[in-house]
């Protein structure tokens, strides 16, 4: 069949249309017979034949639709009209369940709440963040490597060996030493698998699942970060809970980045997974090379596009990834510092919440 279709395409379009009409007529004839549902046909051969036909029809329709759309676009271009609007594909994110907890920019209570919360001191730059990083009791191989990279990512971070201390004791110690956050890297079978981020002295405790960790040396063409204070990008933390988690993350980093360092740390939230990336960027003005590329492209493409091309000597940003790469997923957010037994949770993930794929909490 495919060969036949190709053949028909090779011939002129009109011929194809004719053929199409012919087929259509045939179909109409058969359609009366095919009023019965295909799935009710008991003979497998016949059933599969009907299915094959259905499938073929569907494919043809789709191709026809695409063709007509393309034609409309082309005509609009020729006539200088506005292009027909492109349809946005429906994704899980843009069909997300409506959530009343999504923060709105005109919510004064939100800002009042922000002023009153545990991080406001750090975020208003009254307190300089000072981070204590420690591990679980048994720690080896990728754990220490990950911590050494975290130390290079987070300024003013100090690693303390865990020893056999209780976490609550460590919290007390850190409070006395004026630390503002504690990060605990939990490893399981020599692989970091959880991250505990704790605000001090009374900030919340967030428990993240850590996955897909790639260390610096495993990243191709990685760069080595400088000791400048990084910039921070927090993406898509929309709900109240997300906002709070975002502020918790924000309170780990200093609020006055050195822009000369051109380091940027990204926490990108997508479908409740928080992706961590660490880059160094550079702005470059490569006139000659740019124009060359443009020239090549223009020869291939239409002439209209040449007019629309950007002015010469455009600056471009190039990224070089450095530092680790990992993914976080929030498991629970606890009110107060670490206390598993008597603690109060602000948010815990429960299985009864997973009744829809389109419900997100951050």
């Amino acid at each position: 069949m495919g060969a036949k279709r190709k053949h028909s395409e090779a011939i002129e379009e009109s011929a194809e249309a004719e053929e199409y009409h012919k087929e259509r007529r045939e179909e109409e004839k058969t359609s009366r017979k095919r009023q019965v549902l295909a799935s009710t046909i008991k003979n497998k051969d016949k059933r599969s034949a009907v299915y094959a036909k259905l499938k073929q029809e569907k494919k043809r329709d789709k191709r026809k639709k695409a063709k007509s759309r393309e034609a409309a676009e082309k005509r609009a271009l020729e006539l200088g009209e506005e292009l027909p609007p492109k349809k946005a594909p429906r994704t899980i994110e843009n069909t997300r369940e409506v959530d009343e907890t999504v923060c709105k920019p005109d919510d004064e209570e939100l800002f009042a709440g922000n002023d009153a919360d545990e991080f406001s001191g750090i975020l208003k730059q009254e307190v300089i963040p000072k981070i204590l990083i420690t591990t679980c009791r048994f720690n080896s191989s990728r754990g220490p490597a990950f911590i050494s990279e975290l130390l290079s990512v987070i300024p003013n971070a100090h690693y303390f060996r865990r020893g056999t201390y209780d976490l609550k004791k460590i919290v007390e110690y850190a409070k006395n030493k004026d630390f503002t956050s504690i990060i605990v890297v939990h490893t399981n079978r020599r692989e970091p698998d959880a991250l505990l981020v704790m605000g001090l002295p009374d900030g919340p405790t967030a428990h993240f699942k850590l996955s897909r960790l790639v260390l610096r040396k495993d990243i191709k063409n990685h760069g080595n970060p400088t000791s400048h204070k990084p910039e921070l990008v927090l993406n898509n933390f929309t709900t109240r809970l997300g906002h709070r988690v975002g502020r918790l993350i924000q309170s780990i980093f200093p609020q006055d980045p050195n822009f000369r360092g051109r380091r940027v740390v990204t926490f990108h939230n997508q479908r409740d997974f928080i992706f961590f990336r660490h880059h160094r960027y550079i702005f470059e003005t490569k006139e000659t090379k740019l124009t060359e590329i443009k020239a090549k492209k223009t020869t291939e493409k239409d002439k209209e596009k040449e007019d629309a091309s950007a002015p010469q000597g455009k600056t471009i940003a190039r990224l070089q990834e450095c530092g680790p790469r990992f993914t976080l997923k929030l498991v629970s957010l606890q009110h107060g510092t670490f206390d598993t037994k008597g603690g109060e949770f602000e948010w815990v993930h429960k299985p009864e919440m997973d009744t829809s794929r389109r419900r997100f909490f951050l």
């Binding site: 997300r96 369940e97 409506v98 907890t101 009110h335």
Partner: protein, 424 residues
């Protein structure tokens, strides 16, 4: 086709609830009938917000005296301020700075007495009982005048120390307002007679278990089980246990059972005198029958944050719960179904229900519109119903007392006596 809208909850009957949050805001949530008495009920909404957001204003405890005439609401703030407001319009009637507003000593419980305690000349004198973390319980008298300048909270009628060490974290006053109970971290549940101001009973911690491990005392919530009977106490511990104490029988818990893994943060008794509702630090809400100690069921509704307060509606079969997930949730107690959830943006500490709402809801209308005869009738009918409602508990009381007498005997020790009775 993906479902892009949230599932609607069934509406709830007309109700008015007040929530108190960590920013010191008081929010009034009302569900009203849409048109007259047709039965169409709008979903609960925030109708009013009182106070300015400020973290030092955080409300720690509140108590309502929801009388038909001149209701009052007492609340304690983190800054040490004790305020008495009108729950209908939020006007501050009295506010006073308590002497206990120091750093690590804050009010954990406040109770506004419904009946007149002191037989003073003015009929508008009220009594307030406050308890602090360090265990200082204070009875204050309240003089209310027409303007807030004239009225005042007197310093203290009586003060006593509940405990010498430990932190008090819960307090409750029984239905007849004669007894108060306290419990906390390192403080066993103890009951005080409010007339004489002396301790009449203290609980004893349960014995060591088979491994010789002793769990330190840490009560996080407590309440009297029956409204009319101050002898039965239900307490929730940090060690995720719910315990029933009976003053009449023994000092150790009569019934004790575990519930899941998080500490019990709120316990509320039902009106029937044997059901309790309790909420945990990880957002589980359940009810149990305290006669048997069996779990009746859990309230399921995507409740994700610690439950700080549960309150039972005095007439309707509804409980309201609130907590750190900033939702006020209304549940049906019989079906354990979520009726409605309202997002209130802040961490909520206390929720209270205004039981006289049905006629209150009408009162503002009556002011704006000319009250028709029908409405008067409705109000009268309602009054009648309410009176019936008042009659009912008396009946219930009798029944419950009978039950207690029947029940106390077998419960007093253990099954031996029951068996003996059965044999005889």
């Amino acid at each position: 086709m993906p479902r892009t809208i949230a599932v609607d909850c069934p509406g709830c009957p007309p109700i008015r609830a007040l929530t108190f949050d960590t920013l010191g805001l008081i929010k009034v949530i009302e569900a009203r009938r849409v048109d007259g008495n047709q039965g169409n009920v709008s979903s609960p909404k925030v109708v009013e917000r009182w106070g300015e957001p400020n973290s030092s204003n955080c409300i720690l405890a509140a108590s309502i005296d929801d009388r038909r005439i001149d209701p009052l609401l007492a609340l304690a703030r983190k800054s040490g301020l004790i305020e008495v407001i009108n729950p209908l319009n939020g006007d501050i009637r009295v506010s006073a700075k308590s002497d206990v507003g120091s750093d690590d000593d804050s009010v954990v419980g406040i109770h506004l007495f419904r009946r007149e305690r002191s037989e003073s000349s003015s009929s508008r004198s009220h009594t307030l009982l406050t308890t602090t973390t360090k265990g200082a319980a204070t009875l204050r008298s309240l003089e209310l005048a027409d303007s807030s300048a004239d009225s005042l909270i007197s310093d203290s009628l009586k003060t006593w120390r509940v405990c010498s060490s430990g932190d008090v974290s819960c307090s409750a006053v029984d239905g007849n307002e004669c007894f108060a109970l306290y419990g906390g971290k390192g403080v066993e549940v103890n009951v005080w007679d409010l007339e004489k101001c002396d301790k009449i009973w203290t609980a004893k911690s349960p014995p060591k278990d088979s491994l010789g491990i002793f769990t330190p005392t840490w009560f996080t919530s407590a309440t009297f089980l029956c409204k009319d009977d101050p002898r039965k106490i239900v307490a929730g511990t940090n060690n995720h246990q719910v315990r029933l104490y009976d003053i009449a029988s023994q000092r150790r818990p009569v019934i004790s059972f575990d519930f899941r893994e998080a500490s019990i943060k709120a316990v509320t008794a039902d009106l029937d005198g044997n059901t309790v509702y309790f909420g945990t630090g990880s957002g589980d809400l359940a009810s149990a029958d305290m006669r048997t100690g069996k779990l009746l069921g859990c309230f399921i509704g995507k409740c994700s944050g610690s439950i700080r307060s549960i309150v039972r509606h005095p007439e309707l079969p509804i409980i309201a719960s609130c907590g750190l997930d900033s939702y006020l949730r209304l549940w049906n107690t019989k079906t354990r179904q979520l009726l409605s959830a309202v997002f209130l943006k802040q961490h909520l500490n206390v929720v209270l229900v205004d039981s006289n709402f049905e006629d209150e809801g009408r009162a503002p209308y009556a002011v704006t519109e000319a009250p028709s005869n029908e409405e008067h009738e409705v109000i009268q009918n309602l009054d009648g119903e309410v009176e019936d409602g008042h009659v009912l508990p008396v009946k219930r009381k009798k029944a419950s007392k009978d039950k207690q007498q029947n029940k106390l005997k077998p419960k007093k020790k253990n099954k031996k006596r029951v068996q003996a009775e059965g044999d005889g």
